[in-house]
Symmetry: C2
Subunit: 361 residues, 2 copies
């Protein structure tokens, strides 16, 4: 611990701590001369305020907590980056917790963060239990939900995309590309992301006059292994779908690997569309058609809502920020005719389509 405190430099200058404090903060009246003496003394004794003491006195720790299920998922690490940027700008520090997809760890993290008196909370919860939300309501600090929005969260603050619409959009895109036999690997229906993407998918098919085939719609747990396993199962079916909408990136990776292992071609044998399969390397093949959430902005906006609330914005109802995702077409869902067209154009050699286009949906 740094030993030099306000009292030390006050003593050195024959002043009181109050004067020194005021000289540094600029609150209250301090003579021009004394202020300079104080600043000088502070400089040469490398004094650092003790933010813990300040927080106690001010009853405001200037910390914002964020808990995510998996910090190594690029979606969440981008969210964190955005939140961090916003925090820095407003003088807050981010306390990051990884719940590891575990409700137990999530609760533990929450408890710790609350003990540390965070001023606000950004929560990508893994729980869907409506009761899980109740405690947050009783909290006297602002809580912003991202990604998974628990039930009964109407009056809570939320930053998200319209998952129902996004799933519907990409499903229709598949149909527009000529696929009618389309299935889905959905996420857990207990999480809003899972559920809404599922209902969006169904609705889109029906709107296109296609009745979804039950055996082509399976639900996983958003992890890679479940994508792989479910896709294997699908491939064993007597009749298999020609296209799949997959509810998140990890399950898509698993599914694609399964397809590849089965010696099948994407999109030749089966087309794939997913969520958040952003490719920061430019090297993933096939380039996955996907709905991409503006992850950094989600984190940024979430943090900003908290800051706004803390500086007196106390609207009763929750603010619901719905951001626009983008659709990157990819080449994992080109209808055969398209591929054939490209092949022909390139003189018999199959050519990948490397151009990535981001379009608002």
């Amino acid at each position: 611990m740094n030993a030099v405190k306000l009292e030390d430099i006050a003593k050195k200058l024959g002043l009181s701590t109050s004067t020194v404090s005021r000289a540094l903060s600029g609150n209250g009246r301090v003579g021009e001369k004394t202020r300079h003496r104080v600043l000088e003394a502070v400089r040469e004794s490398d004094y650092t305020v003790n933010a813990v003491a300040r927080s106690l006195r001010l009853r405001d720790a200037k910390n914002i907590g964020i808990v995510v299920p998996d910090i190594t998922n690029s979606f969440f690490s981008s969210v964190i980056k955005g939140a961090q940027d916003a925090c820095r700008q407003h003088g807050y520090t981010l306390m990051v917790c990884n719940s590891d997809e575990s409700e137990e760890f999530e609760e533990e993290s929450l408890r710790t963060l609350l003990e540390k008196q965070v001023s606000g909370l950004i929560l990508a919860t893994v729980s869907a239990r409506p009761e899980g939300v109740v405690p947050y309501r009783r909290l006297s600090i602002p809580v912003v939900f991202i990604d998974n929005i628990p039930e009964g969260a109407e009056a809570l603050d939320v930053v998200s995309i319209d998952n129902h619409r996004a799933a519907s959009r990409i499903t229709k895109e598949m149909v527009a590309r000529g696929y009618r036999d389309v299935g889905m690997i959905a996420g857990p229906k207990s999480q809003s992301t899972g559920l809404l993407r599922y209902t969006g998918f169904l609705e889109a098919l029906r709107a296109e006059g296609i009745s979804p085939r039950e055996e082509w719609v399976l639900a996983g747990d958003f992890k890679m292994e479940s994508g792989r396993a479910l896709m294997r199962k699908l491939l064993k079916l007597p009749e298999r779908p020609r296209a799949m909408v997959i509810s998140n990136n990890y399950m898509a990776y698993g599914a694609i690997n399964a397809i590849r292992d089965a010696g099948l071609d994407i999109p030749g044998d089966i087309a794939i569309a997913s969520f958040d399969a952003m490719d920061s390397t430019g090297l993933i093949t096939p380039l996955i058609a996907s709905i991409n959430q503006p992850a950094e902005e989600i984190g940024l906006r979430a943090a900003e809502i908290i800051v706004a609330r803390l500086s007196g914005d106390s609207r009763e109802s929750g603010t619901e920020v719905i951001l626009e995702p983008t659709l990157s077409p990819g080449d994992s869902a080109c209808y055969n005719s398209v591929v054939e067209h490209v092949v022909r154009a390139s003189g018999g050699q199959p050519a990948a389509i490397y151009a990535v286009v981001f379009m608002p949906i």
Copy 2:
């Protein structure tokens, strides 16, 4: 802020705050009956300790700070995950700062973390200035350096791999695979990672009796764009290398994209080996031959060193933990004959090699 404090429940029970505190902490003697009454009262009033007050009193915030250049880089997000795990286990909370590769932000983050009285610091610094290290030495808290180890850090705590040896190892691997015309895209020589991988590369070539060609060894800034630009430059050379060792993942992605844009084949025309090009999706092609650092373990060990120091381990000299990276062979550096062999074996159709093997180096 949660309004209910020790005093409240003390009052309710007709006790003093000290007794309540002791009942909860288990320090000091408290009657069995009173203890139960206290626990009961705490439960029904959902009291939460104020960790800020406790930190002030105990002069220990139980927070560990970590600052990394880019949290969205999977290497660093894995480091953070490991550190987080260790922190959780030992009752610490992690405060994460993103320096965005900027010395200014790094310093700002450091200042903030120190003000918040973090008990220890994990630092992946972007600065190499020896003076940059000096302040850390004066710090009275444990500081562990990871990734980039600044000069003059001999007596500091460090968790890292042996970058010189690793670069040498993968370079020799390339030579063993039959490549003799090998170049390098190095990192900034101002950072230890950049410098050591560079010298390791040179040494390995010389050990193999190959004299490195200056025009094939360029230095970038560890970012994707620089990898792309430098590779372009190399490809324009009248004589170009047959293989490249690239000093980190991002530059490798850029370089590979440049090669691909030039219509060249990997490894047919040019082979690639890199650092930390782990592929969590299993979908990147070519599968990049690379040295992979045990990122989570680096974070974990770093945090554990701090915890050890804090609980009285005050060895004078710095502890230097050197972890073993793994080498994943990949198919971005198969000598032509190997590829041809595979092609022939698969009946004329080029086949990718999808098996990933991790071997200790």
